[in-house]
Symmetry: C2
Subunit: 303 residues, 2 copies
């Protein structure tokens, strides 16, 4: 039987000494000069963003336990972009990193089954390497039967999910803070659904966490604290640090009393760190940014 997703992730966090994840959001226009050319085709742009991500993975792997490729940034280069996405996933898995595919898929059951097949169930690429992520983000708007195919795939293959609960962007509040009849906001209701669906005994690992986690934005730390009380067995994937404005102290609110149970993501502030850096190789600047990010979060969570 495959090891449990949450157990593996928590082990890797302990090994690297920090609960952090580097988001891979590649845009051709922001790549280092050396990876760009004049008037590239869409396919050449796809190859370049893939190459960039592979080098970022090599640079950050010593410092972080996980990476999170954001599939939208690959899809914008068409089917060649998707080829690079799965190649980047394969490369990160081979580097011993936990890979969270940020795909935010969600649909009715029969369609969700196709998405689970596409993005979660084990598959090998043309080179014979596993190329589907250890976990993916999903959208819970369709309710339990929309989540079920993802949960079945996760349970069977030692993989994980992060269900969107509270997002990190400014506009999320107008939807997610909808006040309920009993005073609870809609996002708390969503959190209760995630806890109910995700806390079956067959879904919990040896360390007490479920393979069904939640996305909880760090831009609202007071809400992260409330959600921690509702979702005790969910690992929180925490976006919002860095480019989106949340501090390490804001992120610390997502962790449990022992400083466990969450992983903080930073994307642009790490992978594009070289834009503001001194004149050294960009890979070194990205590695430094990843190390600084890991140290910042580790200090805030333990402190």
């Amino acid at each position: 039987m495959a090891p449990h997703f949450a157990d593996t992730l928590l082990e890797r966090i302990a090994d690297k000494g920090s609960p952090v994840c580097v988001g891979l959001d590649p845009s051709y226009e922001r790549l280092p000069e050396e990876l760009r050319e004049k008037e590239p085709s869409l396919a050449r742009q796809a190859q370049a963003v893939g190459e960039f991500c592979r080098q970022v993975i090599a640079a950050v792997a010593p410092y972080v336990p996980a990476v999170k490729p954001q599939i939208a940034y690959f899809e914008q280069y068409g089917h060649e972009g998707l080829r690079e996405y799965f190649d980047v996933v394969a490369e990160a898995l081979a580097a011993g990193l936990t890979v969270i595919g940020d795909v935010k898929r969600g649909d009715i059951g029969s369609t969700a089954e196709a998405y689970a097949q596409a993005h979660l169930r084990n598959r090998q690429d043309e080179k014979g390497r596993p190329c589907t992520p250890d976990a993916i983000t999903v959208n819970g708007y369709f309710g339990e039967d929309g989540l079920e195919p993802f949960i079945a795939a996760a349970r069977e293959q030692g993989k994980g999910l992060f269900v969107l609960v509270r997002t990190s962007n400014p506009g999320g509040a107008a939807v997610q803070d909808f006040p309920g009849h009993d005073g609870r906001e809609f996002f708390v209701h969503m959190a209760e659904q995630v806890a109910r669906i995700g806390d079956g005994p067959e879904l919990i690992g040896q360390r007490g966490y479920s393979c069904v986690g939640a996305v909880v934005g760090a831009t609202y730390p007071q809400e992260a604290r409330r959600l921690r009380a509702v979702m005790r067995r969910q690992i929180f994937l925490v976006p919002g640090y860095g480019a989106q404005g949340a501090s390490a102290a804001d992120c610390a609110a997502a962790f449990d009393a022992e400083g466990r149970g969450a992983i903080v993501n930073a994307s642009r502030s790490v992978i594009y760190a070289f834009k503001n850096g001194p004149s050294m190789a960009w890979q070194g600047i990205v590695a430094q940014a990843a190390a600084a990010f890991a140290k910042d979060i580790a200090a805030a969570v333990k402190g």
Copy 2:
């Protein structure tokens, strides 16, 4: 300036005489014998589902104004599946059909911009044909700044959106029916957001409908009637007919008093009609099923 999405769609509905859409949800296992082979690679499966969809398009084009390829069913065949998805979109556009890409994407603004680039903004394929849909489905969980990049692309390029409001699956209610402090359910709140965001004068076409529409499942006709009152300028994309159990009379609740403003989708009950059919070419059976579907809905809406 590009013609307005809603105007073009309503014109095509009038031309074909029925407000219907055929969903393209291809699974290799369900294809006609002649398109299958022994132990196909993932790439061969992708090619076969693409070929199936191209033949379905040719079969149904005389009877229906629109098709809706569901991208999950293509993604399950990896990047080769995505290549076929864009090829199927290009083929349907060339056949003069309105193409609704059922992608249900949604994320924070910067990521939504990448998705809009991938799935909505005009792009040509390797053969020089337009290959992005006329409209896509999107998930509104991120609120207004998550929708804005899609709306900008739609406005600039004469394209459209359908924002998820009420889904057709059984589990949707546990999330979407969350009761609000003033008695309204959450899905009504979502509908109000869609109407507010989608009803700017620059988004409304000559026939009074916005390029920002809504997905409203037909499995709950009494709710469709309530939502029609909240979203007067939204075209409703109505799933649930056929395999999901809704009747033509159920679907009629989504239309306005003049029998306009909605389009009903059927997927499996049309494209797999040949499984239960007599021994004639499967393409003919699919064409008959599409014609019967179009007639059924047209009669219910006018009646």
